[in-house]
């Protein structure tokens, strides 16, 4: 369908750029926006701009935050001896929901995947290594149970080995190919309990 307005075409294009939004859905969203009251649209647009202006990455763990360091990194109630390494900020939320983990996090920003142009340099690995001092006595690798997550786990385990810090990984109790983010709490809790030494 070709619209008679270039402005709406533009908006459809923008929506269609978003993950898992096809052209049809983009059209529907654009038409919906057109029908919304102006103040609602402004509120919506502001929320999008705010997210860019106010949200940043924690300089310690690279989770998303509005204050740096983030609330987890600066909390005195957390166990500061354990670091749980995850791929994405969403994975922090998934692990937090289990209420089984009270340590700190480190967000790598992805997993090794040459097909997506991601190599070791693109992940926050150096930053992880620089956090490891005598106070840290366990690292839990909680990456996604897919090929890329597993390979990154192997890679990190090898890097961490000479440091002789206890390194564990969550047990592969999660359905293969699924993302950590989508795992239900019970499964993730079981996986955290069943973690194995590397």
């Amino acid at each position: 369908m070709i619209y008679t307005s270039e402005t709406i075409e533009q908006l459809i294009e923008e929506f269609a750029q978003l993950p898992s939004i096809g052209r049809k859905t983009a059209q529907r969203l654009a038409m919906h926006l057109l029908k919304m009251p102006r103040e609602e649209v402004v509120k919506f647009a502001k929320a999008m701009v705010d997210v860019k202006d106010k949200v940043r990455y924690c300089s310690v763990c690279f989770n998303i935050t509005e204050s740096d360091p983030c609330s987890i990194c600066s909390s005195q109630k957390r166990n500061r001896k354990t670091i749980c390494v995850v791929e994405e900020p969403n994975d922090v939320i998934a692990v937090e929901k289990t209420h089984e983990f009270n340590g700190l996090y480190h967000v790598l920003g992805g997993a090794l995947s040459p097909l997506d142009g991601i190599g070791p340099e693109d992940l926050k690995v150096k930053e992880l290594l620089s956090r490891l001092n005598d106070d840290i006595d366990e690292i839990i690798l909680a990456l996604n149970p897919n090929v890329e997550g597993e390979t990154t786990t192997l890679y990190l385990a090898k890097l961490l080995k000479p440091l002789s810090i206890k390194t564990t990984r969550i047990a592969r109790g999660l359905p293969i190919g699924s993302d950590l983010e989508f795992a239900d709490e019970a499964t993730l809790t079981r996986a955290l309990e069943g973690r194995v030494a590397l």
Partner: protein, 377 residues
């Protein structure tokens, strides 16, 4: 198992086609290009959650449509009924599979529940074609009988693609450090694939010998052998395979840089088919190739039946146009004795002696729909 009925919506040239199938034999008749093969493809899609021809789900979606769906009822050997539905949405690029109205958590968990054996002209490549065609054949059989294998082989293929990306982008330059974690993963998954294939070939050998005997008598001795990319014996442990793969990877490193692709691992395995000690590929006649393929497929049927504890459905696409009258009749009475079969043909000549009833039904397919006999003509 049996497929009791099926409804195809926007699947290739079937916009809305329903079938009530007979318990033993179902013959899909019609001129070329009317949608017979498409209907068989839909049945296998429905049982395996993917196509046996096309690699991408979008290919089987009817042109200019957004969404396809296949649903229907199956009955397992123990009499339990399952309602199955697979749906694909092109805008979201998402596929959904439900069994008895519950979403399957992952597609691989469905594989093996509803085993399918397909014999089609496409399969000629198994005996004639390249090593890759034989690997694909055994991978599909093993995957249907072992979920763990299916997961391993899918992951293995992904590792090879990831590694190849590194090798391509390195443009011949040193990239050992980048490869290291992928090598480890290739060794872990690759060793499991090799061990499982080795075990499979040993298990499968008696089946092929048996079915060959049933089809042609004892004059000819078929043999299927595994020629893995690293040497291996029956007792070789996974750890041992891992270390042999590691050695081979190290040896091949310079060649890999030069050719910019992965050169060690089970994606380079070969499966050798022979008849009376002679390589089929080089020495067999056309007729021997065809008989061999039928024997492989019937062997697959019995193998899956035992491993999955469920009788597979047999899909025969255009098979009789390729065989002479005598071989055709033999094959027909053989597959008829096995379980529920689905057969496509352009003419009824082959089925002259068949009594059409509740057990045996024929369907006339025209322009993506089931029509009555008069309309088909």
């Amino acid at each position: 198992m049996k497929i009791l009925n099926a409804r195809l919506h926007n699947f290739r040239n079937h916009s809305e086609t329903s079938f009530d199938f007979a318990a033993r034999m179902n013959v899909l008749l019609g001129e070329n290009g009317q949608g017979k093969t498409n209907a068989l493809e839909a049945l296998s899609f429905f049982c395996l959650t993917k196509s046996f021809y096309a690699s991408a789900d979008a290919t089987v979606l009817m042109r200019d449509r957004e969404f396809f769906e296949i649903d229907g009822m199956l009955e397992s050997d123990n009499g339990k009924e399952f309602s199955l539905r697979v749906a694909y949405d092109n805008a979201q690029k998402s596929k959904k599979f439900t069994i008895n109205n519950a979403d399957a958590e992952k597609f691989s968990s469905v594989i093996g529940m509803f085993p399918v054996v397909v014999l089609s002209p496409e399969n000629n490549k198994v005996t004639f074609g390249a090593p890759n065609d034989r690997r694909k054949f055994i991978d599909l059989v093993i995957s249907q009988s072992s979920r763990a294998y299916m997961e391993d082989i899918l992951e293995y293929r992904r590792v090879v693609r990831q590694r190849n990306t590194i090798l391509t982008e390195a443009q011949g330059k040193e990239c050992g450090a980048l490869l290291t974690p992928w090598n480890e993963m290739l060794i872990l998954r690759g060793a499991r694939v090799i061990q499982k294939r080795n075990q499979f070939i040993r298990e499968f050998t008696p089946y092929i010998a048996d079915t060959y005997l049933r089809i042609v008598g004892e004059k000819e001795t078929p043999k299927i052998e595994y020629a893995p990319s690293v040497p291996i014996e029956a007792e070789t442990t996974v750890e041992e395979i891992q270390s042999r793969l590691a050695q081979k990877l190290a040896r091949k490193y310079n060649d890999e840089l030069r050719f910019r692709t992965s050169l060690a691992g089970p994606h380079r395995d070969e499966v050798l088919l022979s008849l009376n000690g002679m390589q089929l590929k080089h020495f067999a006649s056309q007729g021997q190739h065809k008989t061999y393929l039928v024997a492989l497929k019937v062997a697959e049927f019995f193998y899956l039946k035992e491993r999955c504890n469920e009788t597979p459905v047999f899909l025969l696409d255009d098979v009789f146009s390729e065989l002479d009258e005598n071989r055709s009749q033999k094959l027909l009475s053989l597959v008829e004795s096995l379980g529920q079969t689905f057969i496509t043909a352009t003419g009824e000549k082959m089925f002259g002696g068949v009594h059409w009833n509740k057990q045996r039904r024929k369907f006339f397919i025209k322009d993506g729909a089931v029509v009555n006999e008069a309309m088909a003509a």
